[in-house]
C-alpha cells in the first residue's frame, strides 16, 4: 500500500513518536509507578517532617550527587550510541553502549556502598518510614539500572538503529526517574 500523504502534511501523532510504541507504554507505566511512590513519600512526610529530615541526614548526599552526574553522562553516551547506529557505525555504537553500561555499573557500585553503609549502621527498611520509602524506591530504581545494563548489552549484540533506539529509551527512562527521585529523597528539607 502506497503512502498517500503529501510532503507538507504533518505526521500523525503516533508516527511522530520516536522509537517503539510499546517502549513508550512501558516508560509511561514505570513513570506512573515511581511518580506515585514519590508522591506517597512526600505525603507521608507531612505526618513527620522532623523525623524525615533527621533520617535524611544519614544519607550520603555527595555519593548520590556523583551518581546523578554518572547517570546523566551515561544517558548522554546512550544518546550518542543511537546517533552512531543511525549513521550505520556499528563499532562506535557498541563502544558508546559499552561506555553507557560501564557508567551504569559505577552507579550500582556507589549505590551498593551506600546500602552497605546503611546496613553497617543497622539502618533497615523498618527503622523509619523514611527508610521504607528509601529502600523501596532506590532499590527498585537500582533493579531498573541492572535491567538497563542487560538491555544495552543485548541491543549492542543485535546492533540495529531501531533496537538501539528502543534500548536507549529504556535507559533514558531510568535516568529520568533518578533526576526526580534524587532531589525528593536526598535533598528536600
Amino acid at each position: 500500500m502506497s503512502d498517500t500523504r503529501t510532503p507538507d502534511e504533518p505526521l500523525h501523532p503516533l508516527e511522530q513518536l520516536p522509537g517503539d510504541l510499546m517502549m513508550w507504554v512501558l516508560i509511561i507505566s514505570e513513570l506512573l509507578v515511581f511518580g506515585a511512590g514519590l508522591a506517597a513519600f512526600l505525603g507521608v512526610r507531612i505526618t513527620d517532617p522532623a523525623g524525615f529530615a533527621e533520617a535524611q541526614d544519614a544519607l550520603h548526599r555527595t555519593g548520590a550527587g556523583i551518581n546523578t552526574l554518572v547517570l546523566v553522562t551515561s544517558g548522554f553516551f546512550a544518546a550518542l550510541a543511537v546517533r552512531m547506529a543511525e549513521h550505520g557505525r556499528r563499532m562506535a555504537t557498541r563502544a558508546w553502549l559499552a561506555a553507557a553500561s560501564a557508567l551504569g555499573v559505577v552507579f550500582l557500585v556507589i549505590k551498593g556502598l551506600e546500602f552497605l553503609d546503611k546496613a553497617r549502621h543497622g539502618i533497615g527498611p523498618d527503622t523509619h518510614a523514611f527508610y521504607t520509602f528509601y529502600y523501596l524506591l532506590t532499590g527498585f530504581h537500582a533493579a531498573h539500572v541492572v535491567a538497563g545494563i542487560v538491555i544495552l548489552g543485548l541491543v549492542g549484540i543485535h546492533c540495529k538503529p531501531r533496537t538501539v533506539e528502543v534500548g536507549a529509551a529504556f535507559w533514558h527512562m531510568v535516568d529520568l526517574v533518578w533526576v526526580l527521585l534524587f532531589p525528593v529523597i536526598y535533598l528536600l528539607r
Binding site: P13, Q16, L17, P18, G19, I27, G35, L38, A39, L42, G43, R45, I46, P49, F52, D57, R61, G65, T68, L69, V72, T73, G75, F76, A78, A79, L80, R83, A168, A169, H172, M173, D175, L176, V179, L180, F182, P183, V184, Y186, L187, L188, R189
Partner: protein, 92 residues
C-alpha cells in the same frame, strides 16, 4: 565552542549544570546558610530544577523535541506532577 551547537552536548551540559545547582542548594540548606522561609524557597527551587532536568531528558535524550504533539502532552503532565510534588512539600 562549536561543540555547543550540538543539541545533545548542550542537553548534557544543561543536565550537569542543573544537577550541580541542586547539590549546591542542598548543601546551603544542610550547612544552615538558609533558614526559615529560605529553606522552603530552597526546597521549591530544588524541585523546579528537577522539573527542568526531566524536561531536558524528555525533549533531547528521549527525542520528544521532534514530536511536538507528545512533547506538549508530556510537558503538561510533567508540570502538573511537579506542582503536586511542590504542594505536598509545602504542606509538609
Amino acid at each position: 565552542m562549536g561543540w555547543l551547537s550540538d543539541p545533545l552536548i548542550r542537553a548534557w551540559a544543561w543536565l550537569i549544570g542543573l544537577s550541580a545547582a541542586s547539590t549546591v542548594l542542598a548543601a546551603a540548606v544542610s550547612a544552615g546558610w538558609l533558614a526559615g522561609t529560605g529553606v522552603t524557597i530552597g526546597g521549591a527551587a530544588i524541585l523546579t530544577l528537577a522539573w527542568a532536568k526531566a524536561g531536558v531528558i524528555l525533549s533531547r535524550y528521549l527525542g520528544l523535541a521532534a514530536a511536538p504533539f507528545w512533547h506538549r502532552g508530556f510537558s503538561i503532565v510533567l508540570a502538573l506532577y511537579a506542582i503536586l510534588l511542590l504542594a505536598l512539600y509545602l504542606i509538609g
